[in-house]
């Protein structure tokens, strides 16, 4: 039937720079100084090793449930690297690598995972929000943070992390639509790791890509190889630049893969095949970036070994510190920070509690 096709005036593209062997498309490689390139690798490696240690400690019963980040290091570190400390970082529950780029103390993360909310305190000077557990609910915050920055005359941006599953939630939609209307400096960084617990990406939404959801909001959208730290860096840097200049939000879909468990309470063998995981192991972000750095002469086997050692000690020391802080888990801490000033009935409850544990 003859109808007029509407010109959407918008396309969605795919970006990748480093291939699985670590070969770069030189045309697309961003300029980054050597220290930054090395730090990108160091944080990715730290994240990988820290993740492994968390898993060990959890299996030993020393920590509670947590969400491993293995496989998603490039998507997180690449996205944080172009940003400033005053840019707002809005994580969900799997952003350990991103948090490490921001110098979040390992001991705090350990403490958090040991069930102490003191561990959630973001580092002084960073505009970091604490971990948000309910899926997609943190997305609107990044819109408000971005809006504030602009209203206050700052050129800071906000970046918010969420998964493929999160795109099904109402909060994702309401927030990104809001951002489009007010043109807030917000970067919507979706880590499409192919799974939302046991639900595969294809059952999460019927759209071919997640990136194309940007069209629903009339904002720029791009799909990148999320295991390619350089591609993620470029896409985020571009989005940040646009946002700082008043050009509004960007939706970035990072194609990546959750190589480990959903959380330590999960058994992925129930719903996905070993072959699938192995196929993705080959696309894994650390090896290819290491190869790239080696090819540029920025990394050697010895240096990696030294790094590994350094990281091992760093983690060990953090665990020492965390354990010390865990020694006296004064339970009356639970009455703190409910309000700026505790109301009378709450003080009374606290007093009663203390009498009770005193055996009163």
């Amino acid at each position: 039937m003859p109808r007029t096709e509407i010109d959407l005036q918008q396309t969605i593209s795919f970006l990748s720079i480093l291939d699985e062997e670590g070969n770069a498309d030189e045309e697309l490689v961003p300029y980054l100084d050597d220290d930054t390139l090395r730090r990108l690798f160091r944080v990715m490696l730290l994240s990988r090793r820290f993740d492994e240690r968390l898993l060990q400690l959890q299996r030993q019963g020393r920590l509670g449930t947590f969400a491993p980040v293995k496989g998603q290091e490039a998507a997180q570190v690449g996205a944080m690297a172009p940003l400033r400390r005053t840019d707002w970082f809005v994580p969900s529950f799997r952003e350990t690598a991103a948090a490490l780029w921001r110098d979040t103390p390992l001991s705090g993360l350990l403490l958090y995972n040991a069930g102490f909310n003191e561990g959630g305190l973001p580092p002084e000077g960073n505009n970091d929000l604490p971990i948000a557990i309910p899926v997609a609910t943190q997305v609107p915050h990044a819109v408000g943070l971005g809006y504030s920055a602009r209203a206050q005359g700052k050129d800071d941006v906000a970046i918010v992390f969420f998964g493929d599953g999160a795109t099904s939630e109402g909060d994702f939609h309401e927030a990104i639509n809001f951002s489009g209307v007010f043109s807030t400096p917000t970067i919507f960084l979706c880590q499409n790791n192919q799974w939302a617990i046991s639900v595969p990406r294809e059952k999460q939404t019927h759209s071919r890509t997640l990136a194309q959801k940007a069209i629903a909001y009339g904002i720029p959208g791009i799909q990148v190889d999320g295991n390619d730290v350089l591609a993620v860096y470029v896409a985020t840097a571009e989005a940040a630049e646009r946002a700082r200049a008043g050009g509004g939000p960007t939706f970035i879909e990072c194609i990546t893969y959750r190589l480990s468990l959903h959380t330590t309470a999960d058994d992925p063998t129930r719903y996905r095949s070993e072959e699938e995981v192995q196929a993705w192991e080959r696309k894994e972000p650390l090896i290819r970036f290491r190869r790239y750095l080696e090819s540029r002469g920025l990394l050697s086997e010895q240096e990696v070994e030294r790094l590994e050692q350094e990281i091992k000690e760093e983690i060990a020391q953090a665990w020492e510190e965390a354990q010390m802080q865990m020694e006296n888990p004064d339970p009356s801490v639970m009455f703190e920070h409910i309000y700026a000033e505790s109301p009378d009935y709450l003080k009374a409850q606290r007093d009663a509690f203390q009498k009770e544990i005193g055996g009163g």
Binding site: P122, Q138, H141, S148, E174, E336
Partner: protein, 324 residues
């Protein structure tokens, strides 16, 4: 000093606070050009511009959620939910984030936000436009829940809510937006959150009410007084944190009490007031406590809404039962 309706008094509070503090923002559906469907935000967009008075998309969860982000970054957003019956879409943001951000970040971030919503019945409106679910917010630690009862206290409480460092849910009894006027001082006025107010002193029985229910309660008090009974009337003003001490002191004195609210009876605020009195005034009770409330039904369409809402007659009956 001018005689203002509650609608105008609230508008005054917003305008003065926006004038005084550049970090105060107003956001919600139709709060800009239209001035709000009840005109509470009238004129603000012309005075303070589109950046500070935001006509948002139709999305309650985002209104609250974006507001949280703004508050964390140092602004003081005042979010309007067009009717409290549409606030359930925003309740997750309130429960999961607004109420917890201070605690979760151990004081590093806070959410000095106000969520305003017209609530309650009595204006011949459509379904969902007469809801009264203050308990949802009162039961959530980290939130404050405030309900004024007239122009002057509405203005003063709203100012306090805006300046409060924590998130405040502020329900405006829409039935009295324009029902009567009161003298409201031009100069700024605040009222402490978490404090009830004795509206009428009396030595025979205590009547506790809030919001639009204060008026029929006062009417009932007059009728009782006409019969030689001397009721004390307490206006709760803040539902949570609740000023149980003021109520308990009154009940310790009078031994008899009637609680009035238009929310459904079961699991309503009346139950908590009973519970606090049980704890703080049990030995002084001379008769069962009474509650006069909405029934445990869906608020009926307006042809039958009057029958649902507590009125002076029901309150008088309950008081007489308590006095037997």
């Amino acid at each position: 000093m001018a005689k203002l309706t509650m609608a105008k008094a609230l508008n005054l509070a917003l305008a003065q606070e926006m004038e005084r503090d550049k970090s105060v923002y107003v956001m919600g559906e139709d709060v800009g050009r239209d001035g709000g469907v009840f005109r509470i935000t009238e004129g603000l967009i012309d005075r303070f511009g589109e950046v500070r008075v935001m006509d948002t998309p139709l999305a309650e969860s985002a209104i609250v959620g974006v507001g949280i982000g703004m508050a964390v970054a140092g602004l003081k957003p005042i979010c309007e939910i067009q009717f409290s019956g549409f606030s359930y879409m925003g309740i997750d943001q309130l429960e999961s984030h607004a109420a917890r951000m201070r605690w979760r970040s151990r004081g590093r971030w806070s959410v000095p936000m106000v969520v305003r919503a017209p609530y309650g019945g009595g204006v011949r409106a459509l379904e969902h436009h007469s809801e009264s679910k203050e308990v949802f917010y009162a039961h959530t630690p980290g939130l404050k829940m405030v309900i004024p009862s007239g122009p002057r206290n509405a203005r003063a409480l709203l100012v306090s809510a805006i300046r409060d460092p924590d998130p405040v849910v502020f329900f405006e009894p829409k039935a009295i937006y324009r029902a009567f006027r009161e003298e409201v001082p031009d100069e700024e006025e605040t009222l402490p959150l978490g404090k009830a107010r004795i509206v009428r002193e009396g030595g025979d029985i205590t009547l506790v009410a809030y919001g639009a229910m204060l008026r029929p309660t006062l009417e009932a008090a007059e009728q009782l007084a006409g019969d030689g009974i001397d009721p004390e009337v307490i206006d709760l003003l803040t539902i949570s944190p609740m000023d149980d001490e003021t109520i308990a002191a009154s009940v310790r004195k009078n031994g008899r009490v009637v609680i009035v609210h238009e929310a459904q009876r079961s699991f309503g605020a009346g139950a908590e007031i009973f519970a606090r009195l049980n704890e703080k005034a049990f030995w002084y009770l001379e008769a069962p406590m009474e509650r006069v409330t909405g029934y445990d039904v869906i608020v009926p369409f307006f042809a039958r809404e009057k029958a649902y809402l507590p009125d002076a007659e029901r309150i008088v009956h309950a008081a007489r039962r308590a006095l037997q």
